[in-house]
């Protein structure tokens, strides 16, 4: 009986997955190979790294660029839009896909210094 239910569930789940309703994130990395950490580490840990760097910068005044949000934006801003936001933006496309709201850019600039607005 249980096997039947599992089999039925598997079929039900397989059908929508095959249709791929959610668009896969568009990850354009223009300056590949220059990241401060290996890709696997960044994928899993970027939130933690950003959080730790944020505390060091705001509270202690440490201004190192590695692991800082400004450092991420500087490298990952699209050459087309100049921003990490937008449907094909490095940050937004992946966060949209994962359904995770990143509210960094309510306050922080999504564009690198130098290129204003």
């Amino acid at each position: 009986m249980i096997r039947l239910v599992v089999a039925a569930l598997a079929i039900v789940c397989a059908v929508p997955a095959a249709q791929a309703r959610v668009q896969k994130p568009v990850l354009v990395i223009e300056r590949a190979g220059n990241c401060v950490e290996p890709t696997e580490v960044m994928r899993r840990e970027h939130r933690k790294l950003l959080l730790q760097q944020r505390e060091r910068t705001v509270r202690l005044g440490v201004r190192t660029r590695a692991h800082s949000l400004a450092g991420c934006v500087e490298c990952h801003a699209s050459s087309k839009t100049g921003s990490v936001l937008g449907p094909e933006g490095f940050c937004q496309s992946c966060h949209d896909y994962a359904g995770v709201k990143a509210d960094c850019f309510g306050c922080h600039s999504p564009k690198p210094a130098g290129a204003r607005r």
């Binding site: 705001v58 922080h108 607005r117």
Partner: protein, 244 residues
């Protein structure tokens, strides 16, 4: 010697040359009080300012405009709710008719009431005496605005866009003068307001390290009679006023 090594050596050499003393206490070029980016702010330094009201020109708002440009404070056309980090105050003694003009901003108190009242610990004083808001922790309750005797803080009422990358700010947070902390950390050794005041030819604002007896601000503080605003509160502000 690789390129970076050579650059490092030249930087050191330049720093050594800059420190050539003409006479005790007078240097050819002032040391930019720069610390390495990985070095945290230190309590050996206390940043502060002296505002000489005798030099501050009535009607001049160069400091206010420079602050807005540096920190990306844009007017919404609704001045009652616009953020105001620095303002010009005109004072007049009704008996003698003597008039003063002076900028007022966050006084970067040694004992800041805004920090005392903050329920989340968002208001804090950095080791080098700069009083800041950690906007990640600020819940926008505005207790600090109530507590500040200098009316130095503002609340951001509306969504913002086009913030300066060095000065993140957004809706729902309290903010105020940061003593241009991004410039200080970069090693500029001057705030936008002091720079603008100098450029306007007044030099009414002197910024520097209050703990260094040879810094220009300490020297001026020794020369000129000066006082803090609301001395009765004994908050020991980092901003002092001469000629009031």
């Amino acid at each position: 010697m690789s390129g970076t090594d050579r650059r490092g050596f030249l930087g050191t050499a330049a720093a050594a040359l800059a420190g050539v003393a003409l006479a005790p206490g007078i240097r050819l070029i002032e040391f930019a009080a720069a610390r390495a980016p990985e070095e945290p702010a230190s309590a050996k330094v206390r940043w502060g300012m002296l505002i000489d009201t005798a030099k501050c020109a009535s009607g001049c708002d160069a400091c206010v405009r420079a602050c807005a440009t540096e920190n990306g404070l844009e007017a919404t056309g609704r001045p009652r709710t616009d953020a105001q980090w620095i303002r010009k105050v005109e004072l007049k003694d009704p008996k003698s008719g003597r008039q003063h003009s002076a900028p007022v901003m966050c006084q970067h108190c040694a004992h800041p009431p805004c920090v005392d009242v903050c329920p989340t610990g968002a208001s804090f004083k950095r080791a080098d005496g700069i009083v800041l808001v950690d906007m990640h922790t600020c819940i926008g309750c505005r207790y600090c605005i109530m507590a500040c005797p200098y009316k130095a803080r503002s609340f951001v009422h509306e969504n913002l866009s086009g913030q300066r990358p060095e000065v993140p700010r957004g809706k729902g947070c309290v903010e105020g003068c940061t003593l241009c902390v991004h410039k200080v950390d970069r090693g500029d050794g001057i705030t936008a307001c002091a720079e603008a005041c100098r450029a306007a030819g007044h030099e009414a604002i002197v910024f520097g390290d209050l703990n260094d007896p040879e810094s220009p601000v300490s020297r001026r503080l020794r020369e000129l009679p000066n006082r803090a605003l609301r001395e009765d509160l004994r908050l020991d502000p980092g901003v002092r006023y001469a000629g009031l």
